[in-house]
């Protein structure tokens, strides 16, 4: 067994950024409040002092402007990490992401790459109400040309950025505010992850729970509870929401013959609807029971805690549905 260490999700993200800045002169971080303030969620705290104003750039509140500038800088030979404070403001730059970053390579007949990395914090929780509680990964996952990554574990918090910076294509990374203070174990040695494949976080034989993002942890906890009842659930973290690692979830379902998809995002036209459709199209005869989904309720997220909790999948919802699927 190799040595492990305890680290928070926030610290893992910061280590990844620090490493990228240290290893490659062409990398710089730009975003609202990333420098002097230390990052809205303290992810980049201390990096301005450690590096310089040129490498850690505070920008005005101009999402479309600075995301577009990040795209231009990437086209011109740099490796920008553009932080959009939260996904809630991300739509102000959506045109840049969809119409510029995602189209440039194709529209130019393969001539012009846009190796930009865009990080956004995301998720529902902390009673932030309708305009500050969003799980909008599906919007981005809809767009050909983007690589869309969802960071649901400490391993990915530490490892994804490095792989994303090596990609010649635009990468959108979702981080989860609710996980920032969460502690996890990481190996002492350098982590290598790829940004092309899904990953089994827990092996199981009775059902495949397919998920991503902040829901990964809830699914892992649900799986532990189910174990007590004698149910072995496999938890598959999709990680890459575009292009989907279809082979990974089809293989898992073909082993367990049951599929539950869990996500915080609104149910309709979501990542889970796509995964469900593909399972039905390509592994229908492997299924013992119909595919089920536990998703976000289709409501703008309300402020009171009990209503907010009721808006996103909870451990008990996952456990209940799994039990019904296995022992109807």
């Amino acid at each position: 067994m190799s040595q492990t260490r305890k680290i928070t999700y926030r610290e893992a993200l910061k280590e990844a950024i620090r490493e990228a800045l240290t290893e490659n002169d062409k990398v710089f971080l730009m975003g609202e409040d990333v420098g002097r303030y230390g990052g809205a969620f303290a992810v980049s705290k201390g990096l301005l002092e450690e590096f310089s104003e040129e490498r850690i750039m505070d920008v005005p509140l101009s999402e479309s402007g600075f995301v577009g500038a990040g795209i231009g800088a990437a086209m011109a030979g740099l490796k920008p990490i553009v932080e959009v404070m939260t996904v809630n403001f991300g739509l102000l730059a959506m045109d840049q992401v969809v119409n510029n970053a995602a189209t440039m390579l194709h529209m130019s007949g393969g001539q012009i790459n846009v190796p930009v990395v865009i990080r956004m914090s995301c998720g529902i929780g902390k009673q932030l109400a309708a305009q500050h509680s969003h799980s909008w990964e599906p919007y981005y996952a809809h767009v050909p040309g983007l690589r869309v990554i969802s960071i649901g574990t400490h391993e990915d918090a530490r490892g994804v950025l490095q792989a994303a910076l090596q990609s010649p294509d635009p990468v959108v990374i979702f981080e989860y505010t609710s996980m920032l203070n969460m502690e996890g174990e990481l190996p002492e040695e350098t982590i290598k992850v790829d940004i092309e494949s899904a990953k089994i976080r827990r092996e199981g034989t009775d059902i495949s729970i397919i998920t991503y993002g902040a829901a990964v942890n809830k699914c892992m906890e649900a799986a532990e509870e189910l174990k007590v009842e004698g149910i072995e659930a496999e938890v598959l973290d999709l990680r890459v929401l575009r292009p989907l690692d279809e082979a990974a979830f089809l293989a898992s379902v073909s082993r367990t013959h049951r599929a539950l998809i869990v996500e915080d995002a609104w149910r309709s036209v979501s990542v889970s609807s796509e995964v469900s459709a593909r399972i039905t199209e390509k592994a229908f005869y492997e299924l013992d029971v119909p595919v089920k989904r536990v998703c976000g309720a289709e409501v703008p997220i309300p402020y009171p805690l009990h209503l907010e909790d009721a808006s996103v999948p909870q451990k008990k919802d996952i456990v209940e549905v799994v039990k019904k699927m296995i022992r109807p």
Binding site: F28, E54, V59, P60, S62, S64, G65, F66, V67, G68, A69, G70, I71, G72, A73, A74, M75, A76, G77, L78, P80, D95, Q96, N99, N100, L105, H106, M107, S108, G109, G110, Q111, I112, N113, P115, P144, G145, R147, A163, Q166, S167, P168, D169, I195, E196, P243
Partner: protein, 327 residues
């Protein structure tokens, strides 16, 4: 007249370029009616002095970003007319392998970055490219063309602020043709003296008669010099006019024919030609020869496009992602 300080050859080259844009586009419009070209086709006819005058002031290593009305810019930058026409035909011999069409001409080897068709959205990219040049300690400047319609977009204001705040070398060229598609300047801008938008971002700016090639050359050279010496951005407003419809779909119900005719009297091409003749920098015989050469080159461009090939459908999803993911 500035041209006096230039040599005869230079004047002739410029006349060739501005004529080439006109004849190339007239031919393109013809091919459009024959359905050889489809989609949107935005003609630059009437505005040619702007691209010709500004781009001649740049160096080859400087970046250019233009709008969806960019055939002229691509031609002046030195892209092959045949390759541009093939692009408009949707042929794989086109500059963007036929994937882009008229609105998306790209040539990375010539630092020509489109062909951008979301109005105003390429301004932030231009700022980013200039930021990269600054960070990489390259001497190049980034020239960004856009219309006065784009100057009403939020991205114009964001880009102006960022460029000035970061002090990056961008030449913003506002091609003010007085109409944002079919809506006149007076209905779209509270402040119609567009160059005044520069100082509000602490940015140097000026206005020039965009129908006068020599004036555009002089103003651009001045602006470029200022950018190269200060490293700061500059806003150049070129007042111009589009003689043709906005696109091939436009019935032009929003302006009088009389107004168009008035502007046609300011046509930049005869104006420049006559100026060269008057300065004895060219002879009528040479003008005729240039006309012939342009006709010939446009003919060759059509031939090249005609003999081009369509990409096989099997290639449909190519260029969505790079083949090699880790570089």
């Amino acid at each position: 007249m500035k041209m006096q300080s230039k040599n005869t050859e230079r004047g002739q080259q410029l006349l060739y370029q501005i004529l080439l844009i006109r004849r190339f586009e007239e031919k393109a419009a013809e091919e459009y009616t024959k359905t050889k070209i489809r989609g949107f086709l935005h003609l630059y006819i009437g505005e040619e002095a702007v691209a010709t005058g500004v781009i001649q002031a740049l160096k080859d290593e400087d970046n250019i970003l233009a709008t969806y009305r960019e055939h002229g810019h691509a031609l002046v930058r030195g892209m092959d007319p045949g390759v541009i026409m093939a692009e408009m035909y949707g042929k794989q011999e086109g500059c963007s392998k036929g994937r882009g069409g008229s609105m998306h001409l790209f040539d990375k080897s010539k630092n020509f970055f489109g062909g951008n068709a979301i109005v105003g959205a390429h301004l932030p990219m231009a700022v980013g490219m200039a930021l990269a040049a600054k960070k990489l300690k390259q001497k190049k400047i980034t020239c960004c063309f856009f219309g006065e319609g784009a100057a009403a977009e939020g991205e114009f204001h964001e880009a102006m602020n960022l460029a000035s705040l970061w002090q990056v070398p961008v030449l913003f060229v506002c091609e003010n043709n007085l109409y944002a598609m079919g809506t006149a300047l007076r209905y779209t801008h509270a402040m119609q003296e567009l160059a005044k938008k520069g100082p509000s971002y602490k940015m140097a700016s000026s206005t020039v008669d965009g129908m006068d090639l020599e004036a555009v050359m002089e103003a651009s050279e001045k602006a470029v010099k200022k950018i190269r010496t200060t490293g700061k951005p500059y806003l150049l407003v070129c007042n111009t006019y589009r003689f043709r419809a906005h696109s091939m779909f436009d019935a032009e119900l929003y302006r009088d024919k009389k107004e168009v005719d008035e502007w046609k009297k300011k046509d930049p091409i005869p104006r420049f030609r006559d100026s060269l003749l008057k300065q004895k920098l060219i002879t009528q015989k040479k003008v005729d020869a240039l006309e012939e050469r342009v006709e010939e080159d446009v003919k060759k461009a059509i031939e090249f496009a005609e003999t081009g090939t369509f990409e096989p459908v099997e290639n449909l999803t190519k260029y969505v992602y790079s083949e090699n993911q880790y570089q």
